[in-house]
Symmetry: C2
Subunit: 328 residues, 2 copies
């Protein structure tokens, strides 16, 4: 953990107030985590790059929340409670101090809202685009992390929230007039879902107590589901008509049916995919309801290691040209 000497003053002023007890006021080489007895630590890291994962002219507040939340989503999928994070900033010289001040302020607010503490980090100069890398540490009771490999034949497949909004929002950023007659409200909803993920940390306990397997859906529903079944050495039968869509997504698809594939395969959903054995399904649904997070049953895990079968609204299997949608 190091910070270039010339930047100490700015970094200390902006980020030291965000440090939790384990961050030692950012005065040390390292952070200290004293794990409560009986807990495992879940560690995950995700980076976002300007021009790849976000638009350089996005508000710094939104970029801060995205950097943090894509990691919080992974912790939620594992059934873990947020503990703290390390932050690596690679910054171009062109970035004004005011940008960094707004970024730090929003990061601190969002971290507090999620019970997350800044533990430390590194700041480097780059001649390239800005990059923000977060390593997130969470806590789960020992042996209770929800594995991506845990899906078992006979499990129900659940997905939280709605699928495709962020991918459609990205599409609107790239082609604001496609479709041109989309209502302003739907447009705003889809754009906001791309700009800032809403991770499902409220669902972590329901995942931990009930899911046999799980992951967060960040690289596209179809591709990520295929990935989870693959590492679980199972297949699945998925009912595409049951995949939950927002009203805004439905409106967009009614105007342009080509958007449906983008919604199902596009990234940045940050919803949770869970496989739940039938005897835990009622408990999972009840805990999700209590947590205020909608979950929809979308399929059934089956034996064999064939690719999952996606049944379309017409009852016929549908295949997808690509499992996931690349970043722009």
């Amino acid at each position: 953990m190091s910070i270039p000497f010339s930047e100490d003053a700015l970094i200390v002023r902006l980020f030291a107030p965000l440090a939790g007890p384990g961050g030692l006021a950012l005065k040390d080489d390292a952070a200290l985590i004293a794990p409560p007895a009986g807990n495992d630590i879940v560690a995950t890291t995700d980076a976002i790059v300007a021009g790849v994962h976000y638009f350089p002219d996005d508000p710094p507040e939104s970029i801060a929340r995205k950097a943090l939340r894509v990691n919080l989503s992974d912790l939620a999928a594992k059934g873990a409670e947020p503990h703290g994070f390390l932050l690596t900033l690679a910054l171009p010289d062109s970035l004004p101090d005011e940008w960094l001040a707004r970024f730090a302020d929003a990061l601190g607010r969002d971290a507090r809202a999620f019970g997350f503490q800044l533990l430390g980090g590194d700041t480097v100069r780059t001649p390239g685009p800005a990059m923000i890398s977060v390593t997130a540490l969470g806590l789960v009771p020992a042996g209770r992390m929800v594995r991506r490999t845990g899906a078992r034949a006979g499990d129900y497949l659940y997905i939280s929230g709605t699928i495709g909004d962020a991918a459609l929002g990205l599409r609107l950023r790239l082609e604001p007039d496609a479709p041109p007659t989309l209502s302003a409200a739907s447009r705003a909803h889809l754009l906001s879902r791309y700009l800032e993920p809403r991770p499902r940390n409220a669902l972590a306990l329901a995942m931990r107590d009930n899911a046999s397997g799980g992951m967060d859906v960040s690289d596209g529903f179809i591709g990520d589901l295929t990935k989870m079944l693959g590492v679980s050495r199972c297949s699945a039968r998925v009912d595409l008509a049951a995949v939950p869509l927002s009203d805004a997504a439905r409106e967009a698809m009614a105007l342009d049916m080509g958007l449906r594939e983008i919604a199902l395969t596009g990234g940045d959903d940050y919803e949770l995919l869970a496989s739940v054995s039938p005897d835990r399904a009622a408990a999972f649904e009840a805990m999700a309801r209590a947590a205020g997070v909608p979950v929809a049953r979308v399929g059934l895990v089956t034996t064999g290691d064939a690719a999952p079968v996606f049944i379309d609204v017409d009852g016929a299997p549908k295949s997808f040209a690509r499992g996931s949608y690349s970043h722009f």
Copy 2:
């Protein structure tokens, strides 16, 4: 923790074999750490950027070792044993697969040599230069992490190894003829010290058992020592004649006295700075000797919060134009 879908095959082939038990074969969203009872976790992160922290045409093996070792050095300074690491790679499209294969192979070998396991990571595309960010996790017995804030008036200051070789090596990379008559052996020594850090993990136990405060010296001896005394709210009297120099550094300085300031303030030493109370000094020296790491006593921690006083060979205080040397 996520890996772009299109890169799964390459990443899995190259990096999954490096994953330790906590890395879950890189099949999950997250890594799992079950900390042994009675241990704290020490977490640190350091990133290196092509063209900033290393030369893009450095061998990929050296870049891999640098990325890992700058973090191992922080763990050593804290008295921690390496446990595992998360790796974030931001890669330009221009980087050939062969580069990545050589990088991964060297990374795996070096990790094994240090008892380190790959826990997970993220890979992103960047239109900018390559960047390699490592978050390192280490273990220390509960409450025993060596703090940067721990120096106390009356402590002796120790530095491991030799100071300035890497900074002089960088200088030789930038100006191969300065000084022109430097022997080939000295030139090779200094260049190698810049190319690949040699972290002092062998000294971790001596640090933990004896040092009241410590840090790794990565941003320049003068600047980092000043930093440690500052956060410890102490001052110091430092004997510059006692600062250990390699024969190669001595030869270079004899040819060009201007190199001395570069050696004392330049970065990339990756030596350990320790403050040790006099009653622990003999034990610290004995444990360092047993570990095969030379340590030199270079000063005394004093009261007050003035900047440390650096006494030159002529007995007069010396001031430095800058505390640390910027990256090129």
